[in-house]
């Protein structure tokens, strides 16, 4: 059965290649590279040690090569889609600008808002946790608000707080607050009754049982919220800049360079955003692994 499927797939590839060759040599070259890389990956996936790292890397590299080939072979205008090599060159040539944008948008906007928003959500969660009435009321409202297009508040905050990083941080606070709140309240309820009773028999005070039992058991939930919020924070900070910003920042750069049709700089900026997003998320995942090593999902 499995061999049949493989024969079918290879046959399909060869037929596709032949059809492409008849139609267009350039297309044939692209299909050939794709087919070759795919066969390599399929072979590796069949149980070579290290395939878990190697296969995705090859896949990613293949996509880049195909992108470069398509742009070069079909002579696509750099105004529409620049080649990866052109983007890399623009990245290298504009590192100072990109770094200034990074500091403005990510460090001064997203990170400040992230810390304030998540911190405030945690404090509110602690307050809500003491009152079942508030819990019943705030949780549905919070869950509802978390699903809403909160990015839309960006023009309002820009109007209130001006073009500087303060308005960006405020948008980020609004975006991360409710997802974080819902997760934190969920997390504070995660310790089971037996454990809380045990703390009670130790005559632990509210704060002792909070620090020694309930915050640690809440950590997996807290990190879930923190990880979701990393991406939200970056989106909020960048989108808010579309509504008004000083002459520095990633959203500003993207908007301006699109207008000037220098798409290579735009894509370099997008690369920075992608790297920042992945890095931010990665840091949170590492922290999570360090702090919640006892949780089943980490073993």
């Amino acid at each position: 059965m499995a061999i049949d499927a493989r024969v079918i797939w290879h046959g399909l590839g060869v037929v596709l290649l032949a059809a492409a060759m008849l139609h267009d040599v350039r297309l044939a070259a692209i299909v050939a590279v794709w087919f070759g890389a795919w066969c390599l990956n399929a072979a590796l996936a069949r149980g070579v040690p290290g395939a878990r790292v190697l296969v995705p890397l090859i896949f990613g590299a293949t996509l880049l090569v195909l992108w470069e080939m398509t742009v070069r072979l079909y002579e696509i205008s750099p105004v529409i889609l620049p080649a990866p090599s052109a983007i890399a060159a623009a990245f290298a040539a504009n590192t100072d600008i990109l770094w200034a944008d990074f500091v403005q948008t990510i460090l001064r906007g997203a990170l400040v808002g992230y810390v304030i928003g998540c911190g405030a959500a945690l404090l509110v969660a602690l307050a809500v946790d003491r009152s079942p009435f508030l819990q019943k009321g705030l949780l549905p409202v919070g869950a509802f608000l978390a699903a809403l297009p909160i990015v839309g508040t960006a023009p309002i905050f820009v109007m209130w707080l001006g073009f500087g990083p303060a308005s960006k941080a405020a948008v980020v606070v609004a975006m991360v607050f409710f997802p974080m709140l819902v997760n934190a309240v969920e997390g504070l309820k995660a310790s089971d009754k037996m454990q809380r009773d045990l703390m009670h028999t130790y005559a632990a005070s509210y704060w002792q049982s909070l620090v020694k039992l309930r915050l640690p058991t809440a950590l997996p939930f807290l990190f879930n919220g923190l990880k979701i919020c990393t991406t939200l924070a970056l989106i909020g900070a960048i989108v808010a800049e579309f509504f008004g910003s000083p002459t520095v920042g990633m959203g500003f750069r993207i908007k301006i360079e699109v207008g000037r049709l220098s798409m290579d700089v735009v894509w370099a900026s997008i690369t920075v955003a992608a790297l920042a997003g992945t890095g931010f998320y990665g840091v949170m995942t590492l922290l999570e692994r360090r702090l919640t090593f006892w949780h089943p999902s980490q073993r």
């Binding site: 996936a45 705030l138 809403l148 990015v151 209130w160 509504f243 955003a273």
Partner: protein, 318 residues
């Protein structure tokens, strides 16, 4: 103990119990909403007071506190419009405006109706959501059945979730416009992209959720891959499908709204936000925001209803 006493009382009637349960669920929510509205009113008073006082001073009139309060609630371009102002604007632009009007002898949609703008945003959202979910479903099926596909695509699908794609949406629109694609398609591509990955990740999880026992059972029936897919994997993944569809449709709506921002779109909720911010029409911004919120809530609610009905018919929910 109070609990014991309660149990000794005469059992209350079923109606009273139901009422009490509803009150227990609704009262806290209503309280929280009331508190939020109260804070909003207080905020509107505090933020708009300076404008009121400035105009009064320029005219050389002294206002009593009550007059100042009344003015802060009824400005034309307040820094923060009061809730009832937004409600009135929402009512006027939906129920108060014709959805179509006569223009140059033709019946055209009325751009002053907020329903028209909501439709301009909802149509690409739905189209994109459909494309994205179907493509996500296809890819998930591929990933579950092909190990090479799983190894090469899955890590990128997960990593792409950490990238602020939404912030990049405007570029896609600009580029597609340059290629000659305008109107609904570019917007729906953004929402398709945003609803794509939640469905892929959720469905892969869902189709892998059948236990080894279930899979073994199908093997003893000598069921092939196709039969296993349709008779076991797909039915088992339905709860996961709905969970990711709900995430996906909310993301799709946000995607369309953001996609409308940079291109100077004239119609749509994002366009209402943008023109509102250009001309300082705060009431317009807030009403567009609430319309977006209502749309999101309705879309998710409809999916929840379908989910509940489907799961009940499949016997998966109590």
């Amino acid at each position: 103990m109070s609990v014991a006493l309660d149990q000794n009382e005469v059992a209350p009637c079923a109606f009273c119990m139901a009422m009490r349960r509803i009150a227990g669920a609704v009262l806290p929510v209503l309280t929280v909403v009331a508190v939020i509205v109260a804070i909003w009113y207080a905020g509107a008073y505090l933020m708009n007071r300076s404008i009121t006082l400035d105009t009064a001073e320029r005219r050389g009139v002294a206002l009593s506190t009550a007059e100042v309060f009344a003015d802060t609630m009824a400005q034309e371009r307040p820094r923060l419009p009061a809730p009832h102002q937004v409600a009135v604007e929402l009512w006027n632009t939906t129920a108060g405006e014709e959805m179509f009007r006569e223009r140059r002898g033709e019946l055209r949609p009325n751009p002053r109706s907020l329903f028209f703008h909501a439709y301009q945003t909802l149509a690409p959202t739905m189209l994109g959501f459909l494309i994205g979910s179907l493509a996500g479903l296809m890819l998930a099926i591929g990933i579950v059945h092909n190990r090479a596909m799983d190894l090469s695509v899955m890590p990128w699908a997960i990593a792409s979730q950490t990238i602020p794609i939404l912030a990049v949406a405007p570029i896609v629109i600009v580029v597609l416009n340059a290629v000659g694609l305008t109107g609904m398609v570019p917007k729906s591509l953004i929402s398709a992209y945003l609803s794509f990955f939640p469905v892929v990740v959720g469905m892969v999880k869902g189709m892998r959720s059948p236990s080894a026992m279930d899979l073994d059972l199908l093997r003893t029936y000598s069921a092939g891959r196709t039969a296993t897919l349709f008779k076991l994997r797909l039915p088992a993944s339905v709860p996961f499908l709905f969970a990711s569809l709900k995430v996906g449709i909310a993301a799709a709506l946000v995607g369309t709204i953001v996609a409308e921002l940079p291109t100077g779109a004239r119609f749509g909720l994002g366009a209402r936000l943008l023109t509102g911010s250009y001309y300082g029409q705060t009431i317009q911004i807030w009403s567009a925001l609430f319309m977006a919120a209502i749309c999101a809530a309705v879309l998710v609610a409809v999916l929840s209803l379908i989910e509940r009905g489907t799961l009940r018919r499949m016997g998966l929910s109590a």
